[in-house]
Symmetry: C2
Subunit: 401 residues, 2 copies
Amino acid sequence: MTQHGSTGADDMLPFTEEEYLERIENTKLRMMQFGLDVLLVSDPANMNYLTGYDGWSFYTPQVVVVALAQDEPICIVRGIDLNGAKVTTFLDGRNLLGYPDDYVQNKRKHPMDFVAEILQARGLVRGVIGVEMDAYYFSAASMAALEQNLPNATFKNAYTLVNWIRMIKSPQELQYMRQAARILEKVMATAIDAIEPGVRQCDAVAKIMAAQASGTPEFGGDYPSIVPMLPSGVGTSTPHLTWSDQPFVSGEATILELAGCRLRYHCPQARTVFLGKPPQRLVDAAKVVVEGVEAVLSTIAPGLTCEEVEKVWRDVIAKAGFVKESRCGYSVGLNYPPDWGEHTISLRPGDKTVLQPDMTVHFIPGIWQDDWGIEISECIHLTDHGGDALANTPRRLIVKD
Amino acid sequence: MTQHGSTGADDMLPFTEEEYLERIENTKLRMMQFGLDVLLVSDPANMNYLTGYDGWSFYTPQVVVVALAQDEPICIVRGIDLNGAKVTTFLDGRNLLGYPDDYVQNKRKHPMDFVAEILQARGLVRGVIGVEMDAYYFSAASMAALEQNLPNATFKNAYTLVNWIRMIKSPQELQYMRQAARILEKVMATAIDAIEPGVRQCDAVAKIMAAQASGTPEFGGDYPSIVPMLPSGVGTSTPHLTWSDQPFVSGEATILELAGCRLRYHCPQARTVFLGKPPQRLVDAAKVVVEGVEAVLSTIAPGLTCEEVEKVWRDVIAKAGFVKESRCGYSVGLNYPPDWGEHTISLRPGDKTVLQPDMTVHFIPGIWQDDWGIEISECIHLTDHGGDALANTPRRLIVKD
């Protein structure tokens, strides 16, 4: 929910104020461990996580300032988005600030000039200031503007500091992810049903996006952070094509990578659909991929490292002569475009992070060859003792003959 | 079209190779004027504009390198997206490079380390290297990685260098924008029809998004760079809320800001819908806004400056006692999330850019008060002598009583 009914009352926030305050406390603890006095949060998911702030306004710079020296964060957005901050956050009005509109896309001034002024006015430029250096909406120009305005400040890269806190989901967060899974099941069924020879890809996408937004009768859908991806034919050799207005063709595969989204929480999944009689190589590859997914599902558990999980998959496909060089999974949950991944753990060699209960991971093994490919994935909730697939969709190559 | 049929042949690119080569030539001319030897293009719209590259892959760093010293640009993407680059660009295989997957979201290495290696290997680190410092997907960490790897290089901020070339649309680009306008007309009619008391916002959005993707029987729709925004009730006081699963309510206004998109070219538009009998203040405000839009449409022409156009609007609303502090328009066309604006001109005081034929501008005047607002906008094509609204939707407060 990105707009809390027509009353705009903040008692309609998706989480209790206590949950937000706990997240802020956890952030301050990590800031202390990391030697930060102030943290500038630019990642829209982190801004939402700490304050509730929501809106498609991240195309102009905006930040949440967390300071050890003050209880509540400060939220600084473009002036015309200030009412949006009032509607969507629990913050006190004196901690909501908007910059004048002539800071927007203006060669002579930058929104971070305004942010620097606020930091100075509030006495927050002593000590060490953390910045999320690799966040999508924290540009090189944002960094340069801060450095220029605050020449005596000490900056430290705190990218993913909040993301790591987001990895462990609360009961309420898990409830939203389960709702996202219910939406996803409808979305995936809609997609599989829509793909037929002669149907334009864009018309199948129309049905998919409608299912994503409508959600279920009990709870509506939110926009996933990634649009439907459905490479078809030779396009299946590469994972990130979206769609065209060409029709689906009999004798070709289509890879669906889709999500359900609820209040910005995602449950993603991939499936591969074949129209007609699939070639043996695809049938064989599907069998291997499903075997790999099921081996991981029966093995994954708190206490294992990310690379140990990846090795389970790697060993299964190696027996069949396949190698996959890209990572086969990542942490998933709350996010905004362009990604639903949380940019923390990766299931790949070298990642020695130990899995913990209530992490949520998109295990997405894919095999891409020169001119074809296959993906079958699951979004996994780490329970106390193992891992459960959040969504329930037939786990196989979908053949429509 | 983000995927060129099932053949993947690059003769299905949306523009002729000649048009891409002309764009590259124009870029090199500007680079020379600006004193650049090399330009690193990170903005996905600019990458697409110069090479055709397309795909939802901008969530990991990627660049197109334009160098005066070589004919063709180099496109560097994540390894698994290399096949996507083969399918969507006209570039020679030796100019398509992919970085290994362990560069992705890895604290110990950065994709820009790889880019720096390529620049060195190709002898492109002498002279001045332009970077798009305020592009969404060129993070502070990307800049830091380049500086660390190339300590002797000279970097210069070339943000919007390519964007300014994109402002003047070619005949083929204008054709795609007109197609986007046809899609938008269907989208807007669908939205106005869907908004009824008791209908959940998410269910109206489902129909809107379906219309955006399906497009028309002749040409399909692409995903707009901004999801449907439809603040309702008190939410109309702020422009960038998306939707909730609350129902529309009789006696409230909803502001629709929507686009049609064709092959990444956008035609955006805003309209305000009222369910029931609108309050007089809204009727009066609508009259003023429409008068302002029509004054601008009958005045706008090549040769005027941006601030002169804004003054036409400002004068109309001032007579009615309104003031709008934010800009009331910007250049629009080819783009990727999170914005369909081109980040060049703004219709606001101080912008002395002279309008030229075949620019396309989203003129979006809005009036936002403390607890209500209104928007009625048009996407305008600057002709040789004036300006034409691209889409044809009733230009008034839409009342559904």
